[in-house]
Structure formats: structure tokens, C-alpha cells
Subunit: 341 residues, 2 copies
């Protein structure tokens, strides 16, 4: 149990600065919901949820709500719910990709098999909606809760569209930035956007505030995915836990590769196409790909673009009153483009 304490979690996955308090409160509530001595399903779900990762989405929902007026215990179930959906989709992702590792531990699939992983992922997704509905019992107006259900369900469907579209791009180094961004907006952006918008809705934000937080989440999601794609090339693999090999081995046209393909000469393009077609083993190709990303300036350009998304995200927050929550959302944005893991 001690390894699941908020402190241990924070040590293993440094959260964005200043999110500690919101995180701790939410994690304490999460802890009681999936008891370690519960039924089999509860125990496996707990294994998937804890220790928590960055726990960004719950913090985004809770702070978006607080930034427009309401926060605290009334919002907490919905904030946790977004994490249930996110983790449920990760559990299913690992089934789809056959990934044996998640957050440095055996994935649910590796530990419990495909059948349990499919069922537990489903249960986590369902639990999101049960959790959101609880906000009405805690006194939030039912109309807001229904709207949050609608927003989050639509995001869940978008996420699925994004996954199928990503599979279609697989191996296609020349897919182009536009298609890359469209997939990223669905696969990653949808849930960031929905977390912020649902928070704004539940918190009773004005239509302008809801729009601002939705756009903030959208830009933040883009920045986050861009940084995720950049990590294998700019970070220390030992720190990031991303070896750079997994994206290449899965033949994913990630952000810097798409940018590089656009800028490279014929030989450079041919290299990227051969690697993503699977003709060259990922381990052999990594060095040459990294060199190409530097030589073409793709790495610098991709980092610059991620910073622009962060600036755009922060710009949206001007619509909100100056509160500690707004400051926190600004810092989360900075963190998203600079994080080393």
C-alpha cells in the first residue's frame, strides 16, 4: 500500500508544478473507490490506475471548474472519471499493440491476459459515466451534469475515431502534417479538450469561458502529443522511459518524422519511408533517423511548433478571471511542452 501513497506516486511521475494539492485530494478519493481488497475487477482496475501517471486530465477538469467558479468535492467524481476513461483506453491500447509494459510495470494485458484487460478497460470506461452522474448527487445542477456526460461521451467516441485513423496512417512517413494533426486532435486532443470543457460546464462557466477552456484544452492536447513524439529524440531515454524504438517499431509517423519528411531531400525521405515500411529494423535505424531530424532542422521546427501551441493555449486563458487556478493552468501548459518525461 505504501507504494501507492501520493508521495511515492509523485516521486515516480513528477506532476506539473503546483498541481500537488489538487492531485493529492483527488488521489485520496480515487484510493477509496477501487479497494485493494475488493472484487477481482476492482483489484485489477486499481492496478491499472495506481500508482497514477501524470494525472493531468483530472487536474485539468477540476481546475477548469474552479477557474470559472465551482470546485472541490462536487466536481471530484467527474475529475476522477476522466482518469478512468483515459486509463481504460490505455489498458485497451496495450491489448491492441501487444505492449507488455506500461509505466515501467507489466501492462494489465501482460499480467492478467487479454480477456481481463478487455473487460477491465470496459469497466473503467463505464465507471467514468457513473462518476460524472454522482456530481448531481453532490448538488450540481442536473442540466450541467447531462451536458458534461454529452461532452465526455463525444470525446470518447472521437478518441476511437482517432485510433482507427492512426492505424490507417501506420507506415506512411509521407502522410503530411495536416493528417497527423487531425489524428492527434482526435486521439489525444479530444480528451484534453473534453476535460477542460466538462470542467467549465460543471463549474457553471459562461459560454465564452466554456469556449476559451475548450480551445485551451485543444492547444494543450496538441502540445502534449507533439512533446510526447519528440521525447525519444530530445530527452534521455533512461529518464523518459521512451526508448524511441517503440514508435519506430510500431511504424508510427510521429510529429518530428512528419516534419522531417516534409523538409528532407530525396535520400532523407527514402530513409524515413524505408524505416516506417518496416524494411529496416527500428534499432538499426534510430541513429540515422535522429541525425536526419537534426540535419533537416525538423527537430528545432517541431519544438518551435509545440511552443506555439503552448502559447496559443495560454492565450485562451485571458478570457478567465485571474485566479490561482488560471495560473495553475498556465503552468500546466508550460510543463506540457518542456517536460522531460
Amino acid at each position: 500500500m505504501t507504494s501507492h501513497s501520493p508521495a511515492a506516486v509523485a516521486a515516480a511521475h513528477p506532476p506539473p508544478p503546483d498541481t500537488g494539492r489538487a492531485r493529492d485530494l483527488l488521489l485520496r478519493e480515487l484510493d477509496g473507490r477501487w479497494p485493494a481488497d475488493g472484487r477481482r475487477l476492482d483489484r485489477i482496475a486499481r492496478y491499472a490506475l495506481l500508482p497514477a501517471g501524470k494525472f493531468l486530465r483530472p487536474v485539468l477538469l477540476a481546475e477548469s471548474a474552479r477557474a470559472v467558479g465551482a470546485g472541490g468535492a462536487q466536481i471530484a467524481p467527474a475529475a476522477l472519471g476522466v482518469e478512468f476513461l483515459h486509463v481504460g483506453s490505455l489498458v485497451h491500447d496495450d491489448v491492441i499493440d501487444g505492449d507488455e509494459l506500461r509505466r515501467g510495470r507489466p501492462s494489465v494485458m501482460a499480467r492478467h491476459g487479454v480477456a481481463d484487460a478487455v473487460v477491465v478497460g470496459d469497466a473503467l470506461m463505464m465507471s467514468m459515466f457513473a462518476a460524472v452522474a454522482e456530481c448531481a448527487e453532490r448538488g450540481l445542477p442536473a442540466g450541467r451534469v447531462v451536458e458534461a456526460v454529452r461532452v465526455l461521451a463525444a470525446a470518447g467516441v472521437d478518441l476511437c475515431h482517432g485510433q482507427l485513423m492512426e492505424a490507417e496512417l501506420c507506415g506512411d512517413a509521407g502522410c503530411g502534417l495536416e493528417r497527423y494533426l487531425a489524428v492527434s486532435a482526435l486521439k489525444t486532443g479530444a480528451l484534453f479538450r473534453a476535460a477542460c470543457l466538462a470542467g467549465a460546464v460543471l463549474g457553471g462557466g459562461t459560454p465564452a469561458q466554456q469556449r476559451a477552456l475548450r480551445r485551451y484544452g485543444e492547444h494543450l492536447g496538441s502540445a502534449f502529443q507533439m512533446r510526447d513524439d519528440l521525447l525519444p529524440y530530445v530527452g534521455d531515454a533512461g529518464v523518459t522511459g521512451k526508448s524511441g524504438l517503440s514508435d519506430l517499431a510500431n511504424r508510427r509517423p510521429t510529429f518530428p518524422l512528419v516534419v522531417a519528411h516534409d523538409r528532407a531531400d530525396r535520400a532523407g525521405r527514402r530513409l524515413l519511408e524505408r524505416v516506417l515500411s518496416g524494411a529496416v529494423p527500428a534499432a538499426e535505424a534510430l541513429g540515422a533517423v535522429a541525425a536526419l531530424l537534426r540535419r533537416t532542422g525538423a527537430l528545432a521546427a517541431a519544438e518551435e511548433r509545440a511552443r506555439q501551441e503552448v502559447a496559443a493555449a495560454k492565450g485562451c486563458l485571458a478570457e478567465l478571471p485571474a485566479t490561482s487556478s488560471r495560473t495553475l493552468l498556465e503552468r500546466v501548459a508550460d510543463f506540457s511542452a518542456d517536460r522531460a518525461r
Copy 2:
């Protein structure tokens, strides 16, 4: 497209008597929601949903709502939503069991692979909640809609608990009637119960009416699962599409087997245990198992028990005003225990 017409569907899967009108209206709305020329996800989801099966759960939700006062277009999205959840869970079931056939056609897994089946099942489940939320846009009070979300999400989680528990019973011929019934109440009963209760909630039923419809759905679910388990032994395999082999091959302690184990002598028990342990191939064992079910009277006892559940279900309906919807719900109960497929 013609093979998806309501008429063709009805011919392939005879619905319960008198549900034709409700079915047709709902199927028409479903047809427009998952366009045949839509995105890849929409097309695969459409393949999973149409032609529809018995389509019992949507009819139960819609007629439960109508039986307590409200019905029609305001309720339709939620009614369809229950089918989305049900079919999503079937798509995932086929991944888990490796089943290549569903309703006489290749399963989504067989046709599109594991990855697409996992993602499309997820999307169908999410779509349920988006659909339920729509009822508020169509004028139903938000408080009722939130309560329906809560009921249906809880049922979805129960369904997952039931699937894990069923896996634990696998191979255990002597698990006993009590444990069998507990699993059935979660795996099948939860969604029948939730469909009826959510209908009663959305329709604005009194607490007593909500209770009555919840219990009706519970008994109906039991009867339905019992009949499903009995079909391989009482029906014509050519008609039922259930060969009797799949349950045995999957080493499932189905209803008649559990009853037979309780009544059999030592040799009979040993036979059942050996078959469910996988020591005897299902195809070889089917005849001997069927003979044992008859000799011990287990078949007759199991059929009698299913009829009792139907009677209990119908008894619950006395709480409702005498309307054509109540009559229809009575007929659905009769159908559930007598159906030949």
C-alpha cells in the same frame, strides 16, 4: 442495404410478438445514426448493429417508459443506447472467446481483426451515453436523464463483474445453482434490469413503478439466460443456431448442467466434471450429456424454473396501469421462456 431493412431483419430474427411497431421505429432511427457511407468506425459499428438481433433491450426500455407515461421520440435515443452497449459488449465477447461467428455472420473480430473490434466495441459503449444525454435535448427533465445515466453505467460495470466471475466458474460443473444465478444476474440480468429501470425513470414513473419494472427486468433476465442455456438441448440446432457444442467447448457450467450436477449420481457428476474439465471433447460428450439431463429430470426442472421466473416477471407488472405497453411486456416475458432461438 435491403438486407438491413426492418423486414429482412425480422425474417432472420423473429422478434417477440407485437414488438414490430416499436422495433421498426427504433430501427429506422438507428439506421440513420451509423451511416453505411460514414467513417470507417461508423461502418464497422453499423456492421455489428445491423441486421439487428432480437433487439429486446431497446424495446424493453421504450415500452417501460411508455408503460409509466412517456414514450416516443423523447425516449428513442436512450432505447437505442442500450443496444449500443449490448452490441459493444458482444463485439468484445467475441474478442475474448475468439468467436468467429455472430448471428450467423463473421464476427467483427473475424472480419476486421482484434484491434478494430476492441476500438469499435469501446465506441459503441461510449455512444450509449451520448445517446442517453440526447434525451435532455429532446425535452426530458435533466434530473431523469442523469439518473438513467447512473443506472446504465452501473449496469455496464455489473456486466463486467459478471464476465470476470463467469471466467472463474469456467470448468466448474459443481459450482452450484447459487453461484450460477449470481453470475447470470450480473452478466445478463444487469442490462435487462437497467433497461427497464432506466425506461421507468425516463418515463417519469413513481418509485413503486420503478421498483416494479426493475424487478420485472431482473426476473426476465434470469428467464432469458436460462432459456439461452437450455436451447442446445430443447431446440433444433438448425433453428437455434446454437449447436450445444460452443457452451460445452468453452467449458461453461450452464443452467441445465448445474441443475443436473445437483441431481445426478456419482457417475453422472463425474461425466459432467470430465466434460467441463476438457478431458472429453465436446462433440463426443454432447449426446451423453443430453441423455443425462433427461434421465435426471434436470431438463424438465430447469424448464420449470425458467417458467417460474417468467411468472414472477409478469407478476411485477400488476403494479402498472393496464395499457398496451403492459400487455406487450407480458408477451415479451412469455416469449423469453418459450422462444425456439
